[in-house]
């Protein structure tokens, strides 16, 4: 691996986390980001599962990218995704019972996450294995970060706890663990990210911000 390659890989990871953050910048996969983020634990666990699936899918797609016929690439991507998700599901059920009980229900839904298919189609199918791996890592980390951030706010405000430990004595703001509060939290965080982008990087803001 040349020196330049390493820099670009680092760039890929950074891109995935900040510039092309799945939830806050690309505004896709919002459903899971609201469904599972009512506690940091859930958010973190699902984020890790997604990180793994994303990385593996990207790598697999990149490996097979020259072999896959373009006409059936989407079904094949889906097959690859569902294969890896099933692996995660079974492994968790066998070896991580406690975690599985918390988020088992959501693991299988990872198949339908737009973000994973999007990265496979947008990036992995056009790039070398190594780059695809790092891109998967980056966007998976970005997703993980987003979920943890959202769930951090929601659990802190909604339950007064973090990772299940009570830390705030005041009456919690229940709405934040309800779906409505999820939307609110995502919206506010997105606004915050946009503000940072506009304030410090001169961006125009993401999601629907086209035109005036």
């Amino acid at each position: 691996m040349s020196n330049e390659d390493r820099i670009s890989n680092w760039q890929l990871i950074k891109n995935g986390i900040f510039k092309e953050n799945t939830i806050f910048r690309l505004v896709i996969s919002l459903c899971p980001s609201i469904a599972v983020t009512n506690s940091v634990k859930n958010g973190f666990l699902l984020g890790v599962a997604v990180l793994f699936v994303q990385t593996m899918v990207n790598t697999t797609v990149a490996i097979f990218r020259k072999f896959i016929h373009p006409k059936i690439r989407i079904p094949i991507f889906m097959l690859i995704i569902s294969g890896w998700v099933t692996v995660v599901d079974m492994v968790m059920a066998a070896y991580a019972r406690a975690a599985y009980k918390e988020i088992g229900l959501y693991i299988q839904i990872i198949v339908a996450f737009a973000s994973i298919l999007a990265r496979a189609e947008m990036f992995a199918s056009k790039n070398r294995v190594c780059n695809a791996f790092f891109d998967g890592l980056g966007s998976g980390l970005g997703f993980l970060l987003a979920l943890v951030l959202i769930s951090f706010f929601r659990e802190l405000l909604g339950r007064g706890s973090l990772w299940g430990f009570h830390i705030v004595q005041a009456k919690p703001m229940l709405i934040f663990i309800l779906p409505a509060g999820g939307f609110l939290a995502v919206g506010l965080l997105m606004a915050f990210f946009n503000w940072i982008d506009m304030r410090f990087y001169g961006g125009k803001g993401a999601g629907g911000a086209s035109g005036h």
């Binding site: 005041a170 009456k171 703001m173 229940l174 709405i175 934040f176 309800l178 409505a180 509060g181 609110l184 606004a191």
Partner: protein
């Protein structure tokens, strides 16, 4: 001739050169004024706590609006009275006994998130006061559904909790309600006067009607929304409200209890969030009435006015888009 031109600095502007004296701030302040009777009755029945709660709302509303405008470098508009009105309405929609952080957070949500983040006055999709109330109701359901027993002892700070008439009707039925209030006539009188548990500003039907009549007289609100709203509630209460089958319900109880009067006359008619064409306003009112009664009779909450108005707020753009005013001479042309 030259002299005239030199002497006088003339104003040149486009027509029309006459403008009515109505201004946005005058409307807002007048609506606030029309809420005064209901507020006084709330203060009378629920004591100083009611005044303090409402005052907190108003002060928070003014401060948060000013703060937001300062941060975002926008023009200072707190003198237009809309923030004051939002604070007042929110305060009157809360139980008197809520802990003080509830009005503060509710008002901040109402002003900052519901109104200012959407672009300020005129651009909000939802009624700010109602979103503020929905937020705190969902967030602290217990505190928001613990009602104070109305008591005319003016300087009392302690409070005995009591259920609202609608709560009793939902949980224990009409018989229990009648047992509590004596007979039906007495129940009606108490509801009319406002001697019952409920939010600060929603209890006194007479006071609310007084304010509403003033607004109607001043032509600040039209009766399209209130009448279709209340009418729908009455019809559905009569049809399905009774335990003994169709046509046995008591519409009067449903009309005079809960937040219907306050909602129908002062919240559903909020200019920004209701349809602006009369046809659309009737549809809006009927929709509000249907959802209110659906929630009251079938839902988990005893009261549904707030959610009904908020849900219909979502439909306002759709209604406005599809039920436009009839353009002069347009139907004729199409018929030809």
């Amino acid at each position: 001739m030259e002299a005239i031109k030199k002497q006088h600095e003339l104003v040149v502007s486009v027509s029309p050169h006459l403008k009515s004296e109505e201004t946005t701030s005058r409307i807002m302040w007048t609506v606030s004024l029309s809420l005064l009777p209901a507020f006084i009755s709330g203060a009378y029945f629920f004591g100083p706590r009611a005044v303090i709660t409402t005052a907190i709302c108003i002060i928070t509303a003014l401060l948060s609006e000013r703060a937001f405008q300062k941060i975002t470098n926008r023009e200072d508009t707190i003198s237009d009275g809309s923030a004051f009105l939002t604070g007042l309405l929110l305060g009157m929609n809360l139980p008197a006994t809520v802990p003080f952080y509830i009005p503060i957070i509710g008002t901040v949500v109402a002003i900052v998130i519901t109104k200012q983040l959407f672009g300020g006055l005129g651009y909000n999709i939802f009624n700010p006061a109602l979103i503020g109330r929905a937020f705190v109701l969902i967030t602290w359901p217990r505190a928001m559904t613990t009602w104070m027993k109305p008591d005319a002892a003016f300087m009392r700070f302690d409070a005995i909790s009591a259920a609202t008439p609608l709560g009793i009707l939902k949980e224990e039925g009409l018989a229990k309600l009648l047992a509590l209030f004596g007979d039906k006539l007495n129940l009606y009188t108490e509801l009319l006067v406002g001697h019952r548990a409920g939010s600060i500003g929603e209890t006194s039907v007479i006071a609310l009607l007084l304010g509403a009549a003033f607004l109607v007289y001043k032509r600040y609100i039209s009766l399209h929304i209130p009448l279709s709203f209340i009418g729908t509630v009455a019809v559905i209460a009569w049809l399905f409200g009774g335990k003994e089958g169709l046509f046995t319900g008591d519409p009067l109880i449903h009309i005079m209890s809960g937040g219907l009067m306050l909602g129908a006359f002062f919240m559903a008619t909020d200019y920004v969030t209701c349809p602006s064409v009369k046809k659309g306003q009737i549809v809006f009112g009927i929709g509000c009435g249907l959802i209110t009664m659906l929630i009251r009779l079938k839902g988990g909450y005893p009261e549904g006015v707030m959610f009904a108005i908020l849900l219909m707020n979502c439909f306002t753009p759709l209604i406005d888009r599809n039920l436009r005013s009839k353009v002069f001479g347009f139907m004729k042309k199409e018929a030809k």
